[in-house]
Structures are given as C-alpha cells and as structure tokens.
C-alpha cells in the first residue's frame, strides 16, 4: 500500500542545507499514500493514484500549499482566503496570485487583528463559506485563542449541529528556523489538541501539505493546519500531482518500516527522526519504524500501537516543550494499549520546558543526537 514514488522528497537548496536534508529526505521511504481522489470532485481526479503521481512535478512546500488553496477556490466559489498581507502573497508566499486569480472579494488582506480574523472566519464559515484564515506565525495564534477554543471548537456541539464552524481552516507557520527567537519559533500544537471539536494537522513535506490541506479545507470540522516554516522552500516533493488529491485526515503514515524501535514524529521533526533512524542503523544495525502522525487530533493510535506491538519500543519526538506536549498523550495511550508488548519504558525527546530561546537554539531543539541517544536507551534497557 505504500507508494514510495509518490511523496518522495528531494531537495533543491543552498549547499549547507542540501547536504543534510538530502540525507534526511531521500534516505528511503518518504512515500506518501494517495487517497481520496475524486471525493466530491471533478472527473479528472478519478484516475489511479500511481499514474497521477507520475504526472506531478518537483514542488516546494509553499507552492504545494498554494496549489491546494487554488484547487479549493476553483472548486467551490464560496471559498475565501484572508489574513495579514495574504493578498500580497503572504510572508511565505503561500498565497501568491490568489487575488489575481480569484479577485479581491475572495482573497483579501485583513487588519492586524488575529482574534478578529479567526472570529470573522467562524462567522463566514457558519454563514456557509469555506474560510481559509492565515495567522502569519503560529506564535501569534494565541491572540486568537479564545475564538478558536471557545467558539470554533464548540459551535457545532452547543448549537445541536445547527451552526458548525466546520468550513474554517486556520493555517499558521510553526517551528524552529534557526534564530527565530521567542515569537517566531513555537510549536503550539498541544494547546489545540486539548480542545475537542478541533482537528490539528501538521504536514512534513509538500506532497502531504497539499493533500492534507485540501482534505482540511473540505473537511466539515474546524482545522488548525500548522505548516513547518523551515521547510517552505527547502523541502521539495518530486511528484506532487498538479491535480487535486487528498491525504486523509486522522491517518498516520509509516514513513519507513523497521523492527526494533518505533519512532513517532510529525511536521519538520520527521526529518530529524529519519536522520536518527539512519544513524542508529549505522551504529547498531538496528532498524527503526518511523511513523509520521500527520494528524494530531484526532490521531491514529491504531497505526502507532500496531507498530509498537511489533517493535516493543517507543520514542516520540517533538519540538514543543516536553511537559504536557503531545508526546505525553501518545506515551500514555501506547503504555495502556501495548503494556504487555513493551520491552522498555517509552521515551520522549522534546523541546525543553523553557521559552523558545533566542540564543542556544541548538541546545533547545531535539536534535538527531538526542533522538539517537534515546533510542539507544530504549534498546539497552
């Protein structure tokens, strides 16, 4: 069921990055399943997954996101895209040309008002639109927390399903980039995972970004879609179909198979995980099953538990601080479901319980080395 061609990531970027990322992304697997072709959609999309993937071209993360939004706006005239400087293309170029293509009534700038942007988005979603709201950086999303947690997530429930805000998708770039400091680096996913009614989605490469974003926009639940900003231009998927496709929400992907440790990650951290997996194979000959969660809420416990039942060992890694990070949820669930299969206590390799630092970022982030050490610990237990 895995199609290693489809989402295979390769890299086109300046040299220092190329060296590392080509190890990260081309080391095997990187495959993405193609799902959901033709769901409520045009005839061309019913062609088979593998032949469609062959028609794709190398695509960066921001272009893949732009393409998903373009499809969504083409297929449904109620779809709107808005946010700070979005009509100018956005800080990361994810919304370039949308105003030219769809007009200023459907692709427009908002004032600097995150709480207003999200609240407005809920309103237009309730009124029947597909609303794609951009929050310029995930670090600014906290200004809109009330609208997200108290309104978007609860509209459907409290109105007896009369007024869901399901048409709303909130996109925000998240994660470490090198020197972003306190307010351009955070990974806020766990806050939203604590909120029933939301979906939380985090892609690791352009192929998934396009498929997951389109699935998110079409999905009738409000979605928080967090994009790894370090990868906007550096990650390239070779075969992103030019046509629309979905990568299903709520489904993890086994990025590479292995027998000795299950390593769970999402977003940009999947690349660190793959690198650590390579290193472990080199050092110990042990094989790691790398699982990309892709959706965090709801999350695919089944795929993770199946893997841990096979390997008996679990390491989870994420950039966000360790305490009450989403890794805690995974470890709790796996410990319960796979208790008799576990060979060692699960480990988490995460950001520290500190604000995201300005200097010393390399000490903060869960690096390949730290993931590797944790995997050795669970192997040697």
């Amino acid at each position: 069921m895995k199609n290693t061609m489809a989402g295979m990531a390769s890299i086109s970027l300046p040299l220092p990055l190329r060296a590392r990322l080509s190890i990260l992304c081309c080391g095997g697997g990187g495959g993405s399943m193609i799902h959901g072709f033709g769901r409520a959609f045009s005839s061309s999309s019913s062609s088979s997954s593998s032949s469609s993937s062959a028609s794709g071209s190398p695509t960066t993360m921001h272009a893949a996101i732009n393409s998903a939004i373009t499809h969504a706006m083409s297929e449904d005239p109620t779809t709107l895209v808005f946010g700070e400087d979005v009509a100018f293309g956005g800080v990361f170029r994810a919304t370039t040309h949308l105003r030219e293509k769809f007009g200023p009534r459907r692709a427009f700038n908002t004032p600097l008002s995150e709480n207003g942007i999200v609240g407005f988005g809920i309103g237009v979603a309730i009124a029947g639109h597909r609303a794609i709201a951009e929050v310029q950086f995930a670090d600014y999303i906290f200004t809109a927390m009330d609208q997200i947690v108290n309104e978007a997530a609860k509209c459907r429930y409290r109105s007896g399903a009369q007024f869901p805000a399901g048409g709303l998708t909130i996109r925000a770039p998240y994660g470490a980039v090198g020197h972003g400091g306190h307010y351009h680096s955070q990974s806020p996913e766990a806050y939203f995972c604590h909120t029933p009614g939301l979906r939380v989605v985090m892609p690791r490469n352009p192929y998934d970004a396009k498929g997951l974003l389109l699935a998110s926009i079409r999905c009738d639940d409000p979605v928080i879609f967090l994009e790894p900003k370090a990868l906007y231009r550096t990650a390239v998927s070779d075969n992103v179909p030019t046509e629309a496709y979905e990568v299903p929400l709520g489904k993890a992907e086994v990025v590479r198979e292995g027998n000795d440790v299950t390593l769970v990650a999402w977003g940009a951290q999947v690349h660190v995980a793959e690198q650590a997996a390579d290193a472990l194979r080199e050092e110990r000959g042990a094989t790691v099953e790398v699982v990309d969660l892709r959706s965090l809420l709801p999350w695919d416990a089944e795929t993770v538990c199946q893997s841990v039942s096979k390997t008996g060992r679990l390491v989870v890694t994420h950039e966000a601080p360790i305490t009450a990070g989403f890794g805690a949820e995974i470890v709790a669930e796996v410990t319960n479901a796979c208790f008799t299969r576990l060979e060692s206590p699960p480990e988490r390799v995460c950001g520290m319980d500190t604000p995201f630092p300005l200097y010393g970022e390399s000490l903060y982030v869960p690096t390949k080395l730290r993931v590797l050490e944790a995997m050795k610990r669970v192997l040697d237990f």
Partner: protein
C-alpha cells in the same frame, strides 16, 4: 509581493544556519565576568538625568522657536506652537538622534554580516519621538513599547554597547542576551521593555498607569504602538479601562504609515489615530521634530495627570523596511522615501537649527559626528568580542529562584523541575 519573497528567503537563510548549527556541536559559552561587565556598564548610566547619553558644550540661554506645523487635537485645546529651548538642548537633540541613527545603521551592517540573526526592526527615521519624549518626561515616568525598541533603550539611559550586545545575544546585553532585538529592558529607569506580539504592550501601559495613580507619584505611563497595532482589539479594551479609571496613561501611536507592507489606509477605516479613542482626547504631533514632540509630550503629561488618558499620534516615517528581511521599497515609492529624508529628517532638522539658529560651525558638528561614530564603532567591537551567555542561562529565569529548571547536559531527553 517581492517583499514577501525577500522575507521568505531570509527565513531560509535562518533555516540554513539552524541546520548547520545542529550538525555542529553545541557552542560552549564562557560565563566568566559577564555579570561584572553588565553591572558596571549600567551603573555608569544610573544618574537620573536623561542628558547623560551625550554630553553637551553649548550654553543654556533660552531661545524661542516657532514650530512649522500646528498640532491637531481631538477633544482638547492644542498646546502653543512656540517652543522654548536652548543651544545645549538642540545640541543634545542633534547628538542623540545622530547617535541613534548611527547605531541603527550599524545594526543594519551587523545584520547583513550575519552577526545579528533573526528578527530585527530598526528605528531610523523615528528617532525624534523617543528623544522628544525623554526631553519632556522623567525616568520616573514609565514607558513600554513594541519590538522597535533599540532607541527607546538609549532614551532611557542605556548605552549603545548594551543594545548591540543584546542584539548579538551576548551576555552583557541589556537583557543578558535572552531577549534580542525585540526585548530591551531597563528596570532602573522604568523602561518596561519591547514586546514581540503586536499590541500586547498597550494594556500593560494602562496597568503601569494605574500603579502611578495608586502610588500618587505624579508620574505617567507611556504605552507605544504602531499604526498597524492600532487595529488590535486589546488597545480599545485598554483605552476603555484607562478612561474609566482616569489613569495617567499616554497612548502613543507611532504612525509611520505602514504596518509591514500594509499602508495605513488599507487596514484602518480611520487613520486619524489621535481620534480613535473616541471619548479619549487626542493630539497629533510632528514625530520628525524633537521640539514638536517635546512640547506635545509636556502638554500630554500635564493633561494626563490632571484628566486621565490621552492619545498622542506621532506622525513619522521609518526609513528601513519593516524588518531586515524587508527591502522596504515594494509597497512605497523611492520618491516617497527620499522625499521624507530630504524634507523632514529629524537629524537634519536639528543640524540645521544648530547652524542657522545657534550658529554652530559645520566643522564643529563634523567633529561631534566623528566622536559619535566612534562610540558606535567601539560598541560594535565590544559586542562582537563579548561572551555568549552561559548555557545554564537557558534554563534560568523561568521561575523565581530555586524553582528554575535544570537540564541534564546537552543530550538531555528530559528536564527536571527543582522544587
């Protein structure tokens, strides 16, 4: 759009550096002597006069100057446009704005040389605002601002070394290297810092003003924000509270006419920011003229102490792009930028007053400029050679003493909260 492209390509540079630093070993910081150097530095500026940033040599015989631009007001009578000043004050204004200008230009160079990383917002063009404010207030009045805060720190008596060291994330920086460009602080002169989240500081200003009123200390709080930030909801919440409780709060909208790439009229239904408090009086001042700012703030302080909050809109301009990744020329014309530089530049305005009104010789001015440039150059050298903060500082200052968080080495997978 190409400004957006530039922004994103700059972030990619950040990405590159992150990845290379991840490949390399964690740097080891030397921690020796950092606390010494920072304390000795700040103590040399702990006097209570705002004049200490630069020294002056000219006399203090009063001069009166007629401001070229009248004040616009909302629900209050404008102050007089006749300003009293002295040669020494004009000298101080010139030297301070010039020093700030040179510092920001040095930051630009340091950024391009990759000594400063991440987010960095320059204040050049807007210097007259902080200089004029400090001439009208005391350091007992509180001030809180946005991320465009390098010069605010100088205005509050900090020095160029502390600012640049902070920008480089070095130990002698004014926030010990923890804050960087957006987070300068100076407790001893009531500078409550720069803030990264747009608009977040404005309600804090209302709280600071409440403190002044409660202590009955005859001081005001200044809370500064941009024209873009003026659209954040929490600003209106803060204004209502300040008015409801008659707080001595001066809301200062630094209107440089753009919030990132967005012109004021694209994002604000009413770009008359001094009127946007509705029931709160307001005044619009020429934010490119130290004297207009000084007079306006003397008026605003007196007004706020007597009546409660007031909004001051300072009409100004930023020469650089929004941040270092924005060339600043895609959403405004080069003519617009050069027009402001020629007609309204705050440094030139003071230079011209020195020459035309005070009678200072151009050679004298050149000599001052040379000294000030050297001060900046020295500060750059100082900052480059300054030590990084010790690694342990990453886990300190999160809770009060004794409840800090300690990491077990660099390859930790866990952190330990000490009780």
């Amino acid at each position: 759009m190409s400004s957006a492209m530039a922004l994103s390509s700059s972030l990619m540079r950040l990405g590159a550096s992150r990845l290379s630093s991840m490949m390399g070993l964690a740097r080891v910081a030397s921690s020796s002597s950092m606390s010494n150097s920072s304390s000795s530095m700040s103590s040399s500026f702990s006097s209570s006069s705002a004049a200490s940033l630069v020294t002056t040599s000219l006399g203090d015989a009063p001069i009166t100057i007629e401001l070229p631009r009248p004040y616009d007001t909302h629900l209050c009578e404008p102050p007089s446009t006749t300003v009293t000043t002295t040669p020494a004050e004009i000298e101080k204004f010139f030297k301070t704005t010039y020093l700030m200008r040179r510092m920001e230009i040095a930051c630009d160079v340091l950024y391009k040389g990759k000594f400063i990383r991440g987010f960095c917002h320059l204040y050049d063009g807007q210097e007259a605002i902080i200089v004029g404010i400090e001439a009208a207030l005391t350091w007992n009045d509180s001030i809180v601002t946005s991320y465009r805060d390098h010069c605010t720190h100088l205005g509050r008596g900090g020095n160029v070394k502390e600012v640049i060291a902070e920008l480089l994330g070095k130990a002698p920086g004014c926030s010990k290297g923890n804050g960087g460009s957006m987070h300068m602080y100076r407790k001893e002169t009531n500078f409550y810092g720069g803030n990264g989240i747009v608009g977040a500081q404005v309600p804090l200003g209302a709280g600071l003003a409440f403190g002044h009123k409660y202590r009955n200390d005859n001081c005001v709080a200044i809370t500064m924000y941009g024209d873009g930030a003026a659209n954040q909801g929490q600003i209106f919440e803060a204004m209502n509270m300040a008015a409801l409780w008659d707080l001595p709060c001066i809301f200062v909208c630094e209107n440089n006419h753009y919030g990132m790439g967005t012109a004021e009229w694209r994002s604000a239904k009413s770009p008359e920011y001094y009127k946007r408090g509705d029931y709160i009086p307001g005044i619009k001042i020429d934010g490119m003229d130290c004297l207009s700012v000084k007079q306006g703030f003397a008026f605003a302080k007196e007004f706020a102490l007597k009546n409660g909050p007031i909004i001051v809109e300072a009409d100004t301009y930023r020469y650089h792009g929004h941040s270092m990744s924005d060339p600043g020329s895609t959403y405004r014309t080069r003519d617009e930028i050069s027009g402001v530089r020629q007609e309204r530049d705050p440094v030139d305005r003071m230079r011209k007053l020195l020459i035309d009104v005070v009678g200072t010789s151009p050679d004298q001015i050149k000599a001052w400029e040379k000294e000030l440039r050297k001060e900046v150059d020295d500060a750059v050298e100082f900052a480059k050679n300054a030590p990084l903060p010790p690694d342990a500082q990453l886990y300190e200052n999160i809770y009060v003493d004794g409840k800090g968080i300690e990491a077990r080495g660099v390859e930790i997978s866990n952190v330990n909260v000490l009780g």
